[in-house]
Every structure is written in structure tokens, then in C-alpha cells.
């Protein structure tokens, strides 16, 4: 027993080193992107030749890139709102009501999370073309809503799961209508969860490539546009510069989402 414990404690001392390596492996490649974006060379690689901001300055002239950015923002905002609204309603039904096939419906809603995206993309393409919708930003929005609803459902199910039903009854008991209880109590209490849903689904949609690639037609979203530019080495440094900016924005969004998620936990778990 003692020897096992001794070995374990020696292994235990190595754990910090392991953690550092792990995090390094995960994030160093991502850090290379901003590094190269300030490098004064068209070739992506070491040694670095000099510091420049011209790749960032050059971004302004890329009109096609900006229209792709606009497309992406539009798709991300609309699908975030759609997915958050539907996800909130679904979670409310799942956590508050008992109905036949409740578990099954929950599984079906969560399925897009585990289904290969490429399969979803191809099937949606076939269906959208078949029913004459074609491929537009609208179809991308539909696809992205499908993809991000599971994220919203899992966030909101946890928010509603911790929600004390007596709060709504208390509101009604104090004279509110059921609509008033929803507006004055339920929604404010789960608001941090809703904001967290909006941020997460926005981020997922904004980054998404496969569905957008299949379904965006003539109006590419940003990831699709970037992919198309990777073939031209001359434009690559611009793309790297934009990519660095996107990483920054994504990190800020995720941090904000996490903060709201924690606030929502503090709101709903202080009951004891």
C-alpha cells in the first residue's frame, strides 16, 4: 500500500508538467496565427523577418471579404435569435411538463450535436434543392439554427432545472397573471442563461464552415470565403490577420457567455 502511495505521489508531482504540455499543445498553434499576422513576409514560417501591421491595414480594401463578414454576422445574429427562442421554449417544455415521449423528443432535439455535420449538410442540400428553396443565406440560417438549438437546449434545461417552480406560483399568488409571472419572474431569473445561449449560438454559427459551404450559394459566409482565399498565397497574410481578429472576438464572446452562465447559476442555486 505504502509503495503504491509513493508511486502515486511521484506521478502526482508530474501532473503540473503534464498540464502545461497539454495546454501548450492545444493553444500554441493558435498563438502562431497572430504571430505570423504581424510578420513582414508572405511566407508563413520561421524565421520571422520583421514587424508589420500592413496585413491588417490591407484588410480594409478587401470588399469581398467585408461582404462575407457582413453575411456571417447576419446569419449568426438571426440564427442565434431563432435557436435561443426555440431552445428556450423546448427546454421549458422538457423541464416543466410531463408528456408522452418526453425523453425521446429530448434525444431527437440533441441529435444534431452528435451527427456528422457533413451528413446533415448533404441531406439539407438535397431537401432544400428538392423543395425549391435553393441555396441562400436563408438556408444557412435554417441549418445553423438546427445546429445550435442543442447548445441552447442544454444551457436552458440546466437553467430551468434549477428554477424553483414556487417562484412562478409566488408571482401568481401575489396577483400576477401567468403571463406577468413569466415576464416579471421567469424570464429575468433565466436571463443570464438566455444571454449565454445567444453568445454561444452566435459564436458557433459565425465559425461554422461545412453547412455554410454546402448551403450558402453565391453569398459566402466568412469561413467559406477564407477557405476560398487560402488557395492564393498572396492573400494568405490578410486572411491570417482577419483570423487573428476573429480569434480575439471569439474568446471575448466565450468569456462573456461563461460569466453569464455563472451568474445564472448563482441566481438559481441560492435557494438553500
Amino acid at each position: 500500500m505504502n509503495r503504491v502511495a509513493a508511486v502515486l505521489s511521484r506521478v502526482g508531482r508530474l501532473l503540473p508538467a503534464y498540464a502545461v504540455l497539454y495546454i501548450g499543445f492545444l493553444y500554441l498553434p493558435i498563438l502562431l496565427l497572430p504571430l505570423f499576422s504581424f510578420n513582414d513576409s508572405k511566407v508563413l514560417g520561421f524565421p520571422l523577418t520583421g514587424f508589420t501591421t500592413k496585413w491588417y491595414a490591407g484588410l480594409a480594401e478587401q470588399t469581398a471579404l467585408f461582404s462575407a463578414l457582413k453575411n456571417s454576422l447576419f446569419v449568426a445574429v438571426v440564427s442565434a435569435v431563432v435557436a435561443t427562442s426555440l431552445g428556450t421554449l423546448i427546454s421549458r417544455a422538457i423541464s416543466k411538463h410531463r408528456y408522452p415521449l418526453r425523453r425521446t423528443s429530448q434525444t431527437i432535439v440533441m441529435a444534431p450535436l452528435v451527427m456528422p455535420e457533413i451528413i446533415i449538410a448533404i441531406s439539407l442540400l438535397i431537401v432544400f434543392l428538392g423543395i425549391g428553396l435553393g441555396t441562400t443565406l436563408f438556408t444557412v440560417i435554417l441549418a445553423h439554427s438546427l445546429l445550435t438549438i442543442p447548445f441552447c437546449v442544454s444551457i436552458m434545461t440546466s437553467a430551468f432545472g434549477q428554477f424553483d417552480d414556487a417562484l412562478e406560483e409566488a408571482a401568481v399568488d401575489l396577483g400576477e397573471t401567468s403571463w406577468g409571472a413569466l415576464r416579471r419572474v421567469t424570464l429575468p431569473v433565466v436571463a443570464p442563461g438566455i444571454i449565454s445561449c445567444l453568445l454561444i449560438s452566435f459564436t458557433v454559427s459565425f465559425d461554422e464552415f461545412i453547412l455554410a459551404f454546402f448551403l450558402s450559394g453565391n453569398s459566402p459566409t466568412l469561413p467559406v470565403y477564407i477557405w476560398s482565399q487560402v488557395r492564393f498565397p498572396a492573400k494568405l497574410p490578410n486572411v491570417i490577420a482577419l483570423g487573428s481578429l476573429l480569434i480575439l472576438v471569439s474568446i471575448l464572446f466565450l468569456l462573456a457567455a461563461e460569466r453569464f452562465r455563472r451568474r445564472s447559476e448563482r441566481f438559481t442555486t441560492q435557494a438553500e
Binding site: 424553483d164 414556487a166 401568481v172 397573471t177 431569473v189 438553500e272
Partner: protein, 364 residues
Amino acid sequence: MDHKIAVNIANVSKSFGSFQAVRDVNLQLRQGEFFSLLGPSGCGKSTLLRMIAGFEDPSEGAIAIDGLPMEGTDANHRPTNMVFQSYAIFPHLNVEENIIFGLARSGLSRAEKREKASDMLSKVGLEGLGRRGAHELSGGQRQRVALARALVLEPKVLLLDEPMSALDKKLREQMQMELRALQRSVGITFLMVTHDQHEAMTISDRCGVMFEGRLAQVATPHELYQKPNTKQVADFIGGMNFFDGSIKANGGEKLDVELPWFGQVSVDAHGVSDGVGLPVTIGLRPERVHVGSRRPDGADVAVPARVIDRAFYGETIHYYLELEGRADPLIASVTNFERADHFEVGDPVWSGFRGGAAVALPRK
């Protein structure tokens, strides 16, 4: 005595599917009284409370509050307010906002509402805590906010659903006395649901005991304790020794009963009208059992017994006494006086009681 009726519950039943939660309950709450519904969990007391609040509709029967039938009136329009078991303090609002939540439709100005809130806060002993966030409150403070939030609307009846269950013992005892004082000062009818017989007895003017959806007895705490209507009630309210005997003579007020071990004794008839020769159950509270090393003087009947176990509670000591041939031990609760005799397990003792201290239990 003539009492104004605050709540009239007439022949109310409630079923959930095939489960009958409440069965044919008739109950009148008097204006300004503190009434407790008492019973084990699942006895239907909370369902009854929720029907009065308007969260459930009776399957049968009718409820009237302050003379007005409540059928078709939703919870938000009833002159009742509730203190929930979890207190249900709105977590996104501070104390003051919680308290004025229900005044949204009152037409009062912001200043008037705040004035009311501050009055209420001082009534429940939370002066100056209006700005406190809901998550910064202790259990006792949460209960006070829940009380203030409900009372500020001046309901005809305040409903309390197990209001003490989230508090620890010490705080619970303190809050019981405060709740009692608060009820007297506001003069509103309080209806509390609890499974804690001690709590119900301590603070209520009257209690109703429920078992399996039925109201078994409605009485003052004193009456409930001294003269339980059934064996079930007797057993639920405090400890009770039971003896099965047979009736020797029935004099209306007094009943002469032949008991095993003790012989013939005259007990409180308590409405038992059965004739001579019929079986009857007698209840005897543990603190009415005399225990001594000699034959106790004040007892009408006494027999030798043996101590088989004892439990020390501080202010009292419980002796478990074996009577020759009796399966259940006779439980005696003795006050821990300075000069009280103390007995050890195995000691031979005398046990006895006064006939007037025992009560006949009507058969159901």
C-alpha cells in the same frame, strides 16, 4: 361563542387520477385565528392549502373565503397570500423589490409602496435591509421577507406551507414565537401546514389533524393532546400508552373499565357510549404514569414493573417499563426534578396512574 368565518371548506375532495388526496373535508376557519393543519407527509394537508390558495381546484365540494365562493376565481384574484416552503424569494430582486412585487397593480405611487415596504420590514424585524440582495439573506431572513411580501397585501388569510422546515432547531423555536406574535399584531387569519406536532401545538389556536386525506379531529392543542378522538390522533400527537380493556359500567362522564394488569379503574368516557361488556381502548400519556420505588400514593391503580430501558432528555427522563406478560413496554416520562428518584435498567419499580388521567378512545 359566535365566530366570524374566514374560510369555509364544505365537503371538499380532491383526486389526482385514481389517488384521492383529500376526502370530504369540512372545516371552518375563524376570523383572526392561527390554525394549523397537521399530519404526516402525504396526508393531503398541502393539497388542501393549495386548493384554498387557488393552485388546485377541488374535485368536489366548495371553498368560500370571507363569505365569497372561490370557484372560478384564480389564485391571483384570491384574498389569500402564501408563504412557500422554499420561501420562493425572487432571486433577481432585492428585499424591498420582493416586498412591493404584489403592489404592482395597487395604483400606489413609488413612494407609497416604499413606505409600505419599510413598515412591513420593521414589523418582521428587518429594518434597513431593503437594499439587501436576495442571495445575501440567511434562512431566517428569507422567511421574514416571505412573510412581509405576503402580509403587505393585507390578505384575508395568510397561508403558510411548512414555513419552518428549512430552519435549524434553535431558529425554528425562535421563529415560532415570533410568528405567533406577528399573527396577533396583524390580526390576520393564519393557516399553517406542518408535519411537526410540536410546532402546531406551540403556536396554534386550533389544529386540524389529517390522515389519508381525511380530517380526523379539529380542536385546540390542549384538547387534542388531552382528549384525542382516535388512536391514530393520540399516537401522532405526542407519545401515548394504549390498553385494551372492557367496559364494566358506563356513567356518561365516567367509564368504569376492567384493564389487564391494573384491574378496574374509572376513566374519562370522552363520548364513548358503548354498553357494558364491550371492548374499549384506553390512552394514557407517559407523563401521567407514576413511577416509584414504593407504591405511588396518588395513583388509583398500581402494579409492580421492571425498568427495561431509559432515555435521558434533560428536562425529562423516559422509563420503559415491563409489565409481566405485556408485549409493549409501558412508557413513563418523569420530570427531572432535583429530588426525583432515579432508576437504573433492571430496577424493580411500582407503576400506576390516576383514573382521571386516562381517556377512553372512541372506536372509528
